[in-house]
């Protein structure tokens, strides 16, 4: 037992260092993914035929292919046309692009569930379509989408573990390195699993609190 604790203490610094890199990737992909997701959703709801088609193609493409393949295409493939990105950036962009496709559908569902009368009333006071979307539709849609968005956010957190496949030194990479060195694979991966679980639990709780704060009586589903 003492041996195990010693092992944990020894491994922790490296693992935590990796975790930080993972979190960095996570922040980048959440922000880029969410913004792009909203834009894609708006494109599918309010855009003309061309915009609708482009957004749909994007969504089908990124939802129909594995994330790992997308990461490889970005990190290993883009250099073929002259774009070279660091592992961390590649993974962040790949996950961001990937999650945007899923989020686009969640946002679209949520925005479309905002009753049509809301848009009518907004336009009846003289708001332009743009203003109506910004002040009336989005504030409601964004509240409705929170549960599904939270789910995506947690998924993104776990996806960061793929970073090691292209050399990003996040938690998995550090764990594997330690395992390789010490052959104590089970222990180090259990440790890594534990760290992930702790972070996931923490983030889930925070998101639940966010959901509670954003709740408005009568808006969205319980």
């Amino acid at each position: 037992m003492a041996n195990f604790i010693e092992f944990v203490v020894d491994s922790l610094p490296n693992l935590l260092r990796g975790t930080l890199i993972g979190l960095k990737i996570w922040i980048i992909c959440i922000s880029s993914g969410t913004i792009l997701g909203i834009l894609l959703a708006l494109g599918r709801i309010y855009g003309n035929k061309v915009i609708y088609a482009l957004c749909t193609i994007y969504i089908e493409l990124f939802r129909g292919t594995p994330l790992l393949v997308q990461i490889f295409v970005i990190y290993l493939g883009l250099p073929d046309i002259g774009i070279v990105l660091t592992p961390v950036l590649s993974v962040s962009i790949a996950i961001g692009l990937n999650t945007a496709a899923y989020q686009a559908e969640y946002f679209r569902g949520a925005i479309q569930s905002v009753k049509g009368g809301q848009m009518l009333a907004a336009r009846a006071i003289g708001m332009s379509k743009f203003k109506a979307i910004i002040y009336i539709i989005l504030p409601q849609g964004l509240r409705i989408v929170i549960p599904q968005w939270s789910n995506e956010v947690i998924l993104e957190l776990k996806m960061t573990s793929l970073g090691f496949a292209v050399g990003a030194t996040e938690l998995m990479a550090e764990a594997k390195a330690i395992g390789f060195k010490t052959f104590r694979y089970t222990e180090v991966f259990m440790l890594a699993a534990f760290i992930y679980l702790v972070i996931v639990a923490l983030v889930s709780t925070l998101l639940k609190i966010l959901e509670g704060k954003a709740r408005i009586p009568g808006l969205g589903s319980p």
């Binding site: 905002v114 009753k115 009368g117 809301q118 009518l120 009333a121 907004a122 336009r123 009846a124 006071i125 003289g126 708001m127 332009s128 203003k131 002040y135 009336i136 504030p139 409601q140 509240r143 408005i216 009586p217 009568g218 808006l219």
Partner: protein, 246 residues
């Protein structure tokens, strides 16, 4: 100049013709009520006045500006016409106060303090200043509709359109809304109302217009139309209404 002029308007949905050549005018300060069987285009007509729906044929003028002209800045026009919906359509994510002041703030670009004062005034006018911080889901039907009227008033409209404002309300809540509307009419607001509430029409309407199957069948003052309708169909319809609504 007429405040509102409806000139020979036509509208169809596929094969269904809901408006077939309706024309009338309104002057400032008048209240007119549209009655008729459901589905005869009364709501459609209202929504055409602020171009929430576009006409197939015909023109609509608001104080000299042609609303139906595609070149007209429709957002500007809409900000001068108030619209009260049958199911209120209060902005679900905003409090009553926010609902009333968002128009002045975001469309008329009023400063927050001014807009809040204005909003509270209008809420007071409809008797709901103590519900300023309530969300639409927390209001009763009658309260919700009154907030929706306050929202329309806050834009200082030239004309307010009411699309069956009390049809979605429980009977005991209808009174409070009609009271507000009567006060409004008496204070000189120009109002075009689609409603079955004959008591309301009798007290403040200058003219009642009976529309059936997309055409104006008859129009006249409330006393004249209700007691001595000229057309058989008008009589039949009024008979049905009084049966249903007493």
């Amino acid at each position: 100049m007429n405040l509102l002029a409806i000139e020979d308007v036509y509208k169809s949905y596929g094969d269904l013709e809901v408006l077939r050549g309706v024309s009338f005018v309104m002057q400032k300060g008048e209240t007119k009520v549209l009655i008729g069987p459901s589905g005869t285009g009364k709501s459609t007509l209202l929504k055409c006045i602020n171009r929430l729906i576009s006409l197939d044929k015909g023109k609509i003028w608001l104080e000299g500006t042609e609303v139906t002209n595609p070149k007209t800045n429709i957002d500007m026009i809409r900000s001068t016409i108030g619209f009260v919906f049958q199911d209120f359509n209060l902005f679900a994510h905003l409090t009553a106060l926010d609902n009333v002041r968002i128009g002045p703030m975001k469309v008329k670009k009023m400063k927050r303090r001014e807009a809040t004062e204005l909003a509270m005034e209008e809420l007071h006018r409809v008797g709901l200043e103590d519900k300023a911080d309530a969300y639409p889901a927390e209001l009763s039907g009658g309260q919700g509709q009154r907030v929706s009227i306050a929202r329309a008033l806050a834009m200082a409209p030239k004309l307010i359109l009411f699309d069956e404002p009390t049809s979605a309300l429980d009977p005991e809540l209808i009174g409070e809304v009609l009271e507000v509307m009567i006060d409004l009419a008496k204070s000189g607001m120009t109002m075009l109302v689609v409603s079955h509430e004959m008591g309301f029409s009798r007290s403040v309407a200058k003219e009642v217009i009976f529309i059936e199957k997309g055409k104006i069948i008859e129009k006249g003052s409330p006393s004249q139309l209700f007691t001595a309708p000229k057309h058989k169909r008008t009589e039949e319809f009024l008979h049905k209404i009084t049966e249903l609504y007493g």
